[in-house]
Symmetry: C2
Subunit: 337 residues, 2 copies
DNA sequence: GTATGGTATGAAACGCGTTTCAGAGCAAGA
DNA sequence: TCTTGCTCTGAAACGCGTTTCATACCATAC
C-alpha cells in the first residue's frame, strides 16, 4: 500500500499535467531512461515495463515538457519565415507553400513580420543564433549579405532571391532572364514604349530587373524614359494610381510590365474606368498568376509558389552547404497583351 | 597567467557561440547568479563585476540558449495562431493585425495552418499543452467547444467567433446583428429577393448569419429560397462562378450579401462580363473592406482587422478568465447597392 | 546604540528530457 | 566451449538559465 500513498502525495503536490518523467519512472517502477524509451518508441523495452509506463502516463495525464526536449536536443522543429508583411498575396502564397511543406515534415513556422525594418530582420537572425528556430527562410532580405553570412554559422539560412554570388542557399527566379523574355515578348507584339512597375527599388530582384530593362532598351536602341518606371507599387490601389497617372502623360507607354497581379488588377480597373482600352491603348503583362489574374484575364507570368515553398523548405532542412535552385516561370497568355 | 590558459582551453573545447553561463561565470570570476543578473539587467550588481561579465560575454561571443530560458521560465513568448489557410486575404489581414500587436510586445507568432483539418487544430492545442506556446488564438475553429475548453487549463485560448455562451475568451463580430442590419438595409433599398454567399457552412459565424437570414425572411413574410444561398465561396473565382450561376436562374435574387470582398469582386467581374448590371440587376453588399473593394467601389461592411488583431492578442496575454469583446463593423456605402 | 532596510553576492535547487556508458542475460555461430 | 552480438535496463551526466535562500556589509532611522 506504500505505492498508493506515494501516488496520493504526488496528486496533491502536482497540479494537472505537472508530472515529469522522473515521477512517471518512480510510479512505474522503472528508470527515467526506460520511460524516455517508451515515449520515443525505442524498441528495447519489454512489454510489461512498457505497459506499466504507459499506464502511469495515462493515469497522471503526463505530457512531456517540450522545452526540455528542445533544450536537450538543441532543436525546436521551428522554422522562421521572414516576410515584410503577411497581408500581400505574394507573401501569403509563399507562406502557404512553405507551410504546406513544413506540415508534411512536422515542422512549424514562426512568422516574423519586418515591415521592411532591418532591426526586425536582425531579430530573426538572432532567433537562429539563440537556437529558437532550426533554420531561417528570408522571403525579402534587407540586411547586407555579409551580415546574413555571418549568421549562417548558427544554422541554415535560405533566401528567396538569386544568391548565386553568395554563400547562402536560395530558391529563386532569374529575374534578369524573365524580364528580358517578357520585354522581348512585348516587343514582338509591336510595343516599343514599354514601362514597368515594381515594389521596392532595392534588392537583388529589383536590380536584376532594372538591368534587364536597360539592356533591353540598349539592344533595341530605344531611349530610356524615367517616367515609364513606377516604383513602390505593391497593391491594387497602387495600380489604380498608376492608371490615373498614365492619363496625364503626353507620351504614354503602350505596354507595362507589372511585377504583381494585384497591381495589374488595379491598373486594369483604373484603365477601364478612365476609358483606356486594354490591351489596345495599354498592354499589361504581370507576375504571379494569382486568382485575380485568372478572373480578370490578365496575361501573367506564373510563379509556382508551391514549388518555391517546397524547395525553400527542403533547403532549410538540408542546410549543409549553399545550394541554388532556380525556378522557372511560365507565361500564361490571356487578354491583356 | 593561469586565467589565460583557462581561456585557451575553453576556446579549444567550445565551438563558436557554445559557451554557457557557467563558463562566463568562471571567466569573469563571479557566480552564475551574478552573470544571470547582468544578462537580465538586475540592479544589484556592482559596476566592476558587471563589466567583467560583459567583457567575458563579449570575448566569447556568449549568447544564452533560449531554450534553457524557456524551460526555466515555462514561457516561450510564442503565440500560436490557427488559420485554415494563410493565402486568403481575410486571414492575411487578421494575421497582420495580430502580428503587429505581437511585435509591440515582443511576442512571435507560430503559424498553424489547418486546411480545416481537425487533427491540425488538435496539434495546436497540444502545443499549448506541451508549453511550446504561451497562448493560442484560433481564427477559425473546428473542434467542439468542450474539446477547446478542456485544453484551456494549459493556457489562454482565444477565439475569433462569438463565444459568449462558452468559457473561452473571444473577440468577435455579432454576425446575427450585422447580417440583420445589412438585410434591412437592402430591404429598405427596395430588395425583396435577397440571397447570400458564405464560406464554410459550419461554425458559429455561419449559423448566426443563417439564423439572421431566416428571421429576417420571417419578419418580412418573405419566402425562403434555397437557391439564393451559395455556400463554399471563399475566393474571387468562386465569385465569378456565382455570377455565372446567376445567369441560369429564372428567378434571380436582386441583391446578394457576400461574406468576403474577394468573392464580391469575382461576382462583380462576372456580372460585368455577362451583362448583368450592378447594382441595377444585382446589388452586392460585402464584408471586410479589403483594398479590392475600394478599387472596385464595392459597398461593404468594414471589419477593423487591426483592432480585432490587437484585442485577440490582448486577450491572449491576459488569459485569466473568459472575456468577450464585441467589435463593431461599419457600413461603407459605395456603388454596388 | 540598536533596529531596519537596501545593496551585493553566491551556493544550490529547480525546470525536465535525452543520451552515453556500463553491465547483465541470453542465444546463435564457430 | 567460447565468442559474438543482440536485447533490456538504469545510473549518471548533459543541455543551461532562473530563482530562492542565506549571508554580509553598510547606512539611515529611532
Amino acid at each position: 500500500m506504500k505505492r498508493v500513498s506515494e501516488q496520493e502525495k504526488l496528486l496533491k503536490r502536482k497540479g494537472e499535467g505537472m508530472t515529469n518523467i522522473r515521477d512517471i519512472a518512480k510510479l512505474a517502477g522503472v528508470s527515467v531512461t526506460t520511460v524516455s524509451r517508451v515515449i520515443n518508441n525505442h524498441p528495447y523495452v519489454s512489454e510489461e515495463k512498457a505497459s506499466a509506463v504507459k499506464a502511469a502516463m495515462k493515469k497522471f495525464n503526463y505530457h512531456r515538457n517540450i522545452n526540455a526536449v528542445h533544450l536537450s536536443k538543441g532543436k525546436t522543429h521551428l522554422i522562421g519565415v521572414v516576410v515584410p508583411f503577411s497581408y500581400h498575396p505574394y507573401f501569403g502564397l509563399l507562406i502557404e507553400g512553405i507551410a504546406n511543406a513544413a506540415l508534411d515534415h512536422n515542422y512549424k513556422l514562426v512568422l516574423i513580420q519586418t515591415n521592411y525594418e532591418e532591426t526586425k530582420e536582425m531579430e530573426a537572425l538572432r532567433m537562429l543564433e539563440d537556437k529558437q528556430i532550426d533554420a531561417l527562410i528570408i522571403c525579402s532580405r534587407i540586411c547586407a549579405w555579409h551580415v546574413i553570412e555571418s549568421y549562417s554559422v548558427y544554422g541554415p539560412i535560405v533566401l528567396c532571391e538569386d544568391s548565386r554570388n553568395n554563400k547562402i542557399s536560395s530558391t529563386f527566379i532569374d529575374h534578369y532572364k524573365t524580364f528580358t523574355m517578357a520585354l522581348h515578348y512585348l516587343y514582338k507584339k509591336g510595343h516599343q514604349q514599354i514601362g514597368y512597375t515594381i515594389g521596392r527599388q532595392t534588392g537583388t530582384n529589383s536590380s536584376q530587373r532594372d538591368a534587364a530593362y536597360k539592356d533591353f532598351l540598349t539592344s533595341k536602341a530605344l531611349s530610356y524614359e524615367p517616367s515609364y518606371i513606377f516604383t513602390n507599387r505593391f497593391d491594387v490601389e497602387d495600380g489604380v494610381n498608376v492608371a490615373e497617372h498614365l492619363l496625364d502623360m503626353k507620351n504614354r507607354p503602350t505596354a507595362l510590365l507589372v511585377t504583381s497581379d494585384q497591381v495589374a488588377a488595379g491598373i486594369l480597373t483604373g484603365c477601364r474606368e478612365n476609358g483606356l482600352a486594354v490591351p489596345d491603348d495599354l498592354a499589361i503583362m504581370s507576375f504571379d498568376n494569382q486568382p485575380i489574374s485568372r478572373v480578370m484575364h490578365i496575361t501573367t507570368l506564373e510563379i509556382p509558389f508551391v514549388e518555391v515553398g517546397e524547395k525553400l523548405f527542403q533547403q532549410a532542412m538540408n542546410g549543409q552547404e549553399a545550394a541554388h535552385e532556380e525556378v522557372q516561370v511560365r507565361l500564361i497568355e490571356r487578354k491583356t497583351v
